[in-house]
C-alpha cells in the first residue's frame, strides 16, 4: 500500500533530480553515450527529410541508441500515467493559480492547461503561438545551441564544460523573459 502511495503521488525534487542525474554515468557506462535528447530531432531530420542539406548528411543509423532512448521516454511516460497517475490537481504556488485564473485558466488537473493545449483550441492565436511557434523555437534553438536541458544543463554542467554554462544561462534568460513579460499578456488575448 505504501509503495503504491509513493508511486501515485508526485515525487519530490530530491528523489527525481538524483535519478535524472544518474542517467549521466549510466549512459557512459552502458556504451560511452553522452546524455542528450534534442539530437534526436536532428536524427529524425537526417532519417526522414535530409533534403541534401549537409547538416543532415551523416550516418544517423549510428545514433539509433538515442532514438531508442527517447522511445523509452514515451513508453515510460505512458506507463506512468496509465498505472501511477496522480488524481489530484497539481500543487503549484497559490499565487500562480491566482494569476492563471485571472487569465482565464481554470484547469489544473492535466499536465498542461486544456484551455490552450488541446486539439479543440489548436487554431486559436494563443495555442498557435504556444504550441506551434513555441515548438519551432525549441527545435531551432536547441540545435543552434548544440543541446537542451539534458545535453547542456545536466550532461554539460556535470562534466564542467563552460560553454554549457553559457547555454544554460541563456536558456534561463530566455525563459524568464517570455514567462514574465510575454505569457501574462498572451494569456489575456
Amino acid at each position: 500500500m505504501t509503495i503504491l502511495n509513493i508511486l501515485h503521488s508526485p515525487w519530490p525534487w530530491y528523489i527525481a533530480g538524483p535519478v535524472i542525474g544518474l542517467m549521466v554515468p549510466l549512459l557512459l557506462i552502458l556504451g560511452n553515450k553522452s546524455f542528450g535528447i534534442s539530437s534526436n530531432l536532428r536524427h529524425i531530420c537526417a532519417a526522414c527529410f535530409p533534403a541534401d542539406i549537409p547538416f543532415f548528411k551523416y550516418d544517423w543509423k549510428k545514433e539509433i541508441w538515442n532514438l531508442v532512448l527517447v522511445a523509452g521516454v514515451v513508453i515510460g511516460a505512458l506507463i506512468t500515467v496509465s498505472f501511477f497517475n496522480n488524481p489530484d490537481p497539481i500543487a503549484i504556488n497559490p499565487k500562480l493559480v491566482n494569476d492563471l485564473e485571472g487569465a482565464g485558466i481554470n484547469s489544473f488537473h492535466s499536465l498542461a492547461p486544456t484551455e490552450i493545449f488541446s486539439w479543440a483550441k489548436l487554431f486559436t492565436v494563443k495555442s498557435l503561438i504556444m504550441i506551434v511557434a513555441g515548438g519551432f523555437m525549441v527545435g531551432f534553438g536547441t540545435r543552434y545551441a548544440g543541446g537542451c536541458t539534458s545535453g547542456h544543463a545536466i550532461m554539460g554542467l556535470s562534466s564542467f564544460q563552460w560553454p554549457s554554462l553559457v547555454a544554460t544561462i541563456c536558456f534561463m534568460i530566455g525563459g524568464f523573459t517570455v514567462a514574465n513579460l510575454v505569457i501574462p499578456y498572451l494569456l489575456k488575448l
Binding site: V68, F140, N180
Partner: protein
C-alpha cells in the same frame, strides 16, 4: 559497418566549417553491436520518462512556476541532477571505470560558439511557451497530451530549418 577512419570523415563533413561541438548524444564508441544491444537504452529512457512525469517536470505549470521564481521544485530537480551527474563523472574518472564492453569512457569536449547564446535564448523562449524542453516534449506525447505531437513536429521543423540556414547564422 564503418571503421573509425570513416567515422571521423563523416564527422568532419557533418560539422564542416562551423567548428563547434554538436555531438551531444553522438556515439563516441567505435565498437559496433547487434541492434538488440540498444534495448538497454529503451529501459534507461523508460526510467527517465517515468521520472519526468512523476516529478511533474513535464508540467507546463511547473515551468511557469520556475520562471516566475514561485517555487524551488524545478531548481531542486535540475540542481540535484547536475550534482549527481557530477559525482558520477568524478567517480568514473577517479576509478577509471570502463564501459560494460571494457572501453575507456570518453566525454566529448564542448566548444564555445555564439550559437549557445542566440540558440540558447531562442530555446528559452520556446521552453517557456510550450512549457517543455525536448525530453518532456516526447514524454508529454506518451503521457496522453496528444496535441503536443504538433509541438514535436514543429520542433523537428525548427531543427530542419536550422540545418537549412545554418551557414548563414553567426556561430
Amino acid at each position: 559497418m564503418l571503421d573509425a577512419t570513416t567515422n571521423s570523415v563523416i564527422k568532419k563533413q557533418t560539422d564542416f566549417e562551423v567548428s563547434f561541438d554538436d555531438s551531444t548524444g553522438m556515439n563516441e564508441s567505435t565498437l559496433r553491436h547487434k541492434p538488440w544491444h540498444n534495448i538497454k537504452y529503451l529501459f534507461a529512457g523508460m526510467i527517465f520518462g517515468m521520472v519526468l512525469v512523476k516529478s511533474e517536470v513535464v508540467s507546463w505549470y511547473r515551468i511557469q512556476e520556475m520562471f516566475r521564481l514561485q517555487s524551488f521544485h524545478m531548481y531542486g530537480v535540475i540542481g540535484s541532477a547536475i550534482f549527481t551527474g557530477m559525482i558520477g563523472i568524478l567517480l568514473i574518472k577517479k576509478f577509471k571505470v570502463k564501459t560494460i564492453y571494457g572501453e575507456d569512457i570518453h566525454i566529448p569536449k564542448r566548444k564555445f560558439s555564439k550559437g549557445q547564446i542566440y540558440g540558447g535564448l531562442i530555446f528559452g523562449f520556446g521552453w517557456a511557451l510550450t512549457g517543455a524542453c525536448p525530453g518532456p516534449l516526447f514524454a508529454l506525447v506518451g503521457a496522453g497530451v496528444s496535441v503536443m505531437v504538433i509541438a514535436l513536429i514543429s520542433a523537428v521543423a525548427g531543427t530542419w530549418f536550422y540545418g537549412k540556414i545554418r551557414e548563414k547564422l553567426p556561430h
